[in-house]
Subunit: 251 residues, 2 copies
C-alpha cells in the first residue's frame, strides 16, 4: 500500500478497488528533486498535481528581507498542490529538504476521483480539512507557546504523521533539516533553536542526529508539547480494533 492510501484510510475504510485506484496515483511518471531544489515556486502556474512519494519537503514563505518561514512539512503521501484546481498560482514555495521524488498526476485524474467516487472525495476533503487543522495548531503554537514547546509539538506531530504512513517504526523518523531549518519551522532564530533543542535532549525526550529524530519519551514529549490528539482527526486509528498505529500504544 502506498503512503497516500495508508493516510487516507485514516479517514474511512476503503474498498479494495478504491485502494488500487489510489495506489495507481503513485505510479505516474516521477520527478526527482535534490535537497534544496524548488519543487514549486511562488507565482507558478501548475498543470499537474505533485504527490510526494519519497523524501521530505516544506511549504515555505519567503520574506523580502530574506527571512523565511516554513508553514508546513510534506512527507510521502502528501499532495503538494491540490489548490491549483481553484487557485491560479502558488502563493508559496515548495522546497525539497532532502532528495525527494514526486509523482506528477494529471489534473484530470484527480478531477475524476473528486467526482466519481464519493468515498474518495470524502477522503480528499478530509485531507484538506486536516491540513487546515494542522495550520490552526501551528498558529496556537507560535502565538502562545515558547520555543521548546513548539519544537516538541513539531516533533510529536511528525511522529504521528509518519506513523500514519507506516514510517515511524521504533519511534524514529527522518527529519532532514539543519537547525536553521528547524528554526524556520518554529519561527525562532537558529541560535535559539539550538538552545531549545538542547533542553529537550537534556530531558531525554527526543534525540536528533544526522537527520533522524528519535522520540525517547513520547508521553513526556506529548505532555510538554500540549498536544491534543484530536486535531489530526485519525478516526480509524482511534479505534481499539486498529491498534498498530495508535499514538498511545508505543509509549
Amino acid at each position: 500500500m502506498t503512503p497516500l492510501t495508508m493516510k487516507l484510510e485514516q479517514c474511512t475504510a476503503l474498498s479494495e478497488a478504491e485502494r488500487r485506484r489510489l495506489d495507481r496515483l503513485s505510479e505516474f511518471p516521477a520527478k526527482h528533486f535534490d535537497a534544496g531544489d524548488v519543487i514549486l515556486a511562488e507565482g507558478q502556474r501548475v498543470d499537474r498535481i505533485h504527490l510526494v512519494t519519497d523524501g521530505f519537503a516544506a511549504r515555505v514563505k519567503s520574506l523580502p528581507d530574506g527571512l523565511r518561514q516554513i508553514v508546513a512539512f510534506m512527507i510521502p503521501g502528501d499532495l503538494c498542490d491540490l489548490e491549483v484546481f481553484v487557485l491560479e498560482r502558488m502563493d508559496h514555495d515548495i522546497i525539497a529538504m532532502a532528495p525527494t521524488r514526486c509523482a506528477l498526476i494529471p489534473m484530470q485524474e484527480i478531477t475524476e476521483l473528486l467526482t466519481e467516487v464519493t468515498t474518495l472525495t470524502k477522503a480528499l476533503w478530509w485531507s484538506t480539512m486536516t491540513d487546515l487543522a494542522v495550520l490552526r495548531n501551528r498558529i496556537v503554537d507560535q502565538g502562545r507557546r515558547e520555543a521548546p514547546e513548539r519544537l516538541a509539538h513539531l516533533f510529536y506531530e511528525l511522529l504521528i504523521r509518519y506513523r500514519m504512513i507506516g514510517m515511524a517504526a521504533d519511534n524514529s523518523y527522518p527529519l532532514p533539516l539543519s537547525q536553521t531549518g528547524l528554526a524556520d519551522a518554529a519561527g525562532i532564530s537558529p541560535v535559539h533553536a539550538n538552545r531549545s533543542l538542547s533542553l529537550l535532549r537534556a530531558e531525554r525526550l527526543v534525540e536528533l542526529d544526522r537527520g533522524v529524530v528519535t522520540v525517547l519519551n513520547p508521553a513526556g514529549l506529548k505532555r510538554i508539547a500540549g498536544f491534543e490528539a484530536g486535531y489530526l482527526h485519525m478516526a480509524r486509528t482511534e479505534h481499539p480494533t486498529n491498534v498498530s498505529h495508535r499514538a498511545e500504544d508505543l509509549i
Copy 2:
C-alpha cells in the same frame, strides 16, 4: 446580493441562477448569538452548517492554562463548519465577538451544491483554499514579524475581506474586539497590544474606536504589514473591469 455570494464571486463569475441558489442559503432559519456566546464548541458534533449572515465571530483555540488564541475571524458570508462533512467533531470553538446571526443550513443543501453545480463546487473549494492561504500567512506573521506588523497585517487583511463583501465603505469596518481580543489574535499580551496599537495610531495609519477600525493610510498600512495582495486570491477584483472592490483604488 448576500455577502456569501459576493465573496464567492471573487472566484468566478456566477450565473443568475447560481447567484440565486447561493443567496437562498442565507434565508434558512437563523439563530442569534450575543457577544461572548459560543456558536460551536470544541468537541461538538454538528448537523447543520452555520453561515454567518451578520456580526463577527472568531475561531478560538483554548489552552489548558486559560490562554487562548484566535486563529481566524469570521465575517458575514463565512461558513463556520464546512469541515463537518468529513470531520467528526469541531476541533476548536467558534465564539461570537459581537451580536451575530447565523443561518442554519441543512447539510444536504450543501451536499447538493457540492455535487450538482460544478462552478459552485469550485467556488466552495476556492473558499477553503483561501482559508488555508490565510492561515499560512498568519503563521508567517506570528513567526517572523513583530507585534505592530502583525496588527497591521490583521487590519489590512480584514479591510480587504470586508471590501469583498461590500462592507468597508470609507475604509472603515467593524471590529468588535477589546484589546485583549486583539492580543489573542496577534499572539501577544494585552499590554503589548495596547503599546503596538499606539504606535500604529501615532503613525496615523489606523484608528480603532468603539469597535470600528478606520484605516487612515491603506498604502502605509499595507507596506508595514508586508502584505502580499496575492494570497487572498481575488481573481476577479484584480481585473481592471471590476474596479469597485480593488484594494489599491481607495488609497
